[in-house]
Every structure is written in C-alpha cells, then in structure tokens.
C-alpha cells in the first residue's frame, strides 16, 4: 500500500534517515519515470536501468531539493538529463526513429496480441503504438502533459526550455501523434479488408 503522506513529507522523513519513506516515493513515481525512460530508449531493460539510476541520483541530491518546484518536476528533469546522457553514450540516432525501416520494426514488435484478432486491439493500443513511433522529445512532452500533471511552465523547467517552445512542440507533437494514429488505424482497416 502506498503512503498517504505528501511528497514533501516523505522527503523530510527521508532526509531524517527514514529510508522506507524514500521507498514510498519511488513506488509513487516509478511508473511515470519508467514510462518517460521508455519514451527515450524503447527497450525495457535500458529504461529500467535509466529509471533506477534517476531514483538513486535523486536520493543522492535530495538535500539540494528546496521545494521551489514540485518534486515530480525536479525528478523529471533528472530523467530527461539521464536519458539524454544514456542516448548520447549509446550513440542512438534519434532522428532515424521516423524512418520507414524503424516503423516496420515497431510494427513487427511482439505485442502480446493476436495480429489477426482485431477485436483484441483497443484504440488505446493503437494510441500507444503511435506514441512509440514519435520522436523521443515529442513522446516525452505528450506524456508529461497528459500523464505527469505538469503545466507547460513545469515541463519547460524540467526540459530546460522556454514555456513558449514547449507550447509549440506540444502542438506539433499532437499533430504528429494524430497523423500516426490515423495512419495506423487506416493500415489496420486495410488489413481487415
């Protein structure tokens, strides 16, 4: 069961030496941090490594968090920096994610669904598939905006950008996501015919 204490209270307890309080903080934010890491790496093992690294880094510098922003905003800025460093190290060409080859690879990924059984595929499945096909930056902004309870200003703070830049990027990301979603649904409809 997760703690009902606020993030600030859990941080205070952690700083006082209560490691169980930090475990509660991890449990509270792990899904979102892991999802953000997945947006960058698209490989579960790598994403888990990044997410763990982020929580350890956050623990190490918890004393320097003065509560000027939300803990989640501060944590997501660590995720962004760690993921970017990871990608740089791995020399992943993020631009190539839009290539047709990659698209084919993503489409051929094992999904756990029967490909011929369209009934099993909900619209949310296609939505997640479309997010996987976005550029990491676009997918991150969309995820932070819709699932991270972050305002444009907070996203800008976490990503080290101007709020207006994030606004424009969010608009473009939504357009791309819409296009990819429509393309995937059309492709599926053609297969059924």
């Amino acid at each position: 069961m997760q703690s009902k204490l606020s993030d600030t209270e859990l941080i205070e307890q952690t700083l006082a030496g209560n490691q169980a309080a930090y475990a509660d903080l991890v449990k509270r934010h792990q899904r979102f941090v892991f999802t953000l890491a997945m947006r960058f790496t698209r490989v579960r093992e790598d994403a888990e490594e990044i997410a763990q690294d982020c929580f350890i880094k956050a623990y190490r510098s918890l004393a320097s968090f003065h509560g000027q922003s939300k803990f989640s905003t501060w944590l997501y800025s660590i995720v962004y920096t760690t993921a970017m460093t990871f990608l740089r190290k791995k020399r992943v060409d993020t631009d190539s994610i839009d290539d047709e080859n990659t698209l084919i690879q993503l489409e051929n990924r094992p999904t756990g669904y029967d490909v011929n059984n369209a009934e099993n595929k909900s619209r949310s499945f296609y939505l997640n598939q479309a997010i996987d096909q976005l550029l990491p930056d676009d997918a991150t902004i969309i995820t932070m905006f819709y699932k991270g309870e972050q305002s444009l200003e907070e996203i800008a703070q976490a990503l080290g950008m101007e709020a207006n830049t994030v606004k424009v990027k969010l608009f473009r990301a939504r357009q791309r996501l819409k296009e990819k979603l429509e393309r995937n649904l059309k492709h599926e409809a053609k297969e059924l015919i």
């Binding site: 490691q19 930090y22 475990a23 991890v26 449990k27 792990q30 899904r31 979102f32 892991f34 999802t35 997945m38 994403a47 888990e48 997410a51 763990q52 929580f55 350890i56 623990y59 190490r60 619209r123 949310s124 939505l127 997640n128 997010i131 969309i142 995820t143 819709y146 699932k147 444009l152 606004k167 969010l170 608009f171 939504r174 357009q175 996501l177 819409k178």
Partner: protein, 165 residues
C-alpha cells in the same frame, strides 16, 4: 496564432487570455468549421488523456533501494566520520591539557612569592619513574613513526592520483 487547430488547442488547454477565450467561444458557436474541428480535438484530447503508463518490473523499488544501500556502503570512511566524534576527541585533549596545567600550578609553592626580600621559590615537579618514562618515550616514538608513515602514504597516494588525472 496560426491556424484553427492551434487556436482551438490553446482554448482546450486554457493557455490563452480571457479575451481570446471569449472570441474563440463565439467562433465555435457561430462558425461550423470551428465547431467541427473543436469536437474532433475534444475527442482526441480525451483519448490522449487515456494514454497508459508502462509498468516496471515487480522488483523495481527493491532494486533502487538496494542500489542506494550499496552506494551508502561505498562511502569513504572520511565522509562517514561524524563531526561530533571529532569535537569529542578535541574536547578530550583540551580537558586533559587543562587538567595537566592545573596539576602543575597546584604543585607550585606560591608562598615564596609573598616574601619581599627572598625571591627564591620552589616548584615541585611531579616525580617520574625512570622505567615508566622509557616505556612512554618508546611508545611516543613508535606512535610518531606510524603517524609519519601514514602521512607519507597519504601524500604519495595523492601525488599518484594527481599524476593519473
């Protein structure tokens, strides 16, 4: 604002001014193109809100906490020494020194000072056993040698690491 879609997204996000909001509200009510686009975007917005988050492995929290424990264990001794211990040691030495000074002053024959003509005075030094003194001196020298070796080792290590960097 560039196009209908951008205007409507700003309206849906609530990121435009109250005046702009009123204008857009009127446009949606009066313009068919705006109304249809607005409905389309509302459906999309609802769908985007339903994006599912990924689930990490069951042992994720445990692994993080293990990582933290492992890291804490690796913290060098120098960083783990409590400042209170250092203050305690310093206090011990200060108290010992004060006690020794007190002993010395207590053994001084101050009555000689009051004599106006005869200025001689006698300081009674604590008696020290010769055998015990030799052991104490040997121990002191041994401690000094160990301390000198430790400091030399530290100095050489620092030099070596600076050369590597």
């Amino acid at each position: 604002m560039n196009n209908i879609e951008e205007i409507l997204w700003n309206y849906i996000d609530g990121s435009c001014t109250p005046e702009e909001q009123n204008i857009i509200k009127t446009l949606i009510a009066e313009d068919e193109a705006y109304r249809l686009k607005y409905q389309e975007l509302l459906i999309l917005n609802k769908e985007f809100m339903a994006i599912e988050l990924e689930e990490p492995s069951m042992a994720f929290t445990y692994k993080v906490m293990e990582g933290i424990r492992a890291e804490n264990a690796l913290v060098p001794l120098k960083a783990r020494i409590n400042k209170k211990i250092i203050i305690g040691i310093a206090l011990f030495f200060v108290v010992t020194l004060v006690a020794m000074l007190g002993m010395v002053f207590a053994s001084v024959n101050w009555s000689a000072v009051s004599a106006p003509v005869n200025l001689t005075y006698s300081v009674k030094m604590p008696s020290i056993d010769a055998g015990k003194t030799k052991i104490a001196v040997d121990g002191f020298v041994f401690f000094d040698v160990i301390l000198a070796l430790y400091l030399l080792d530290g100095y050489l290590r620092k030099k070596a690491s600076a050369r590597q960097a």
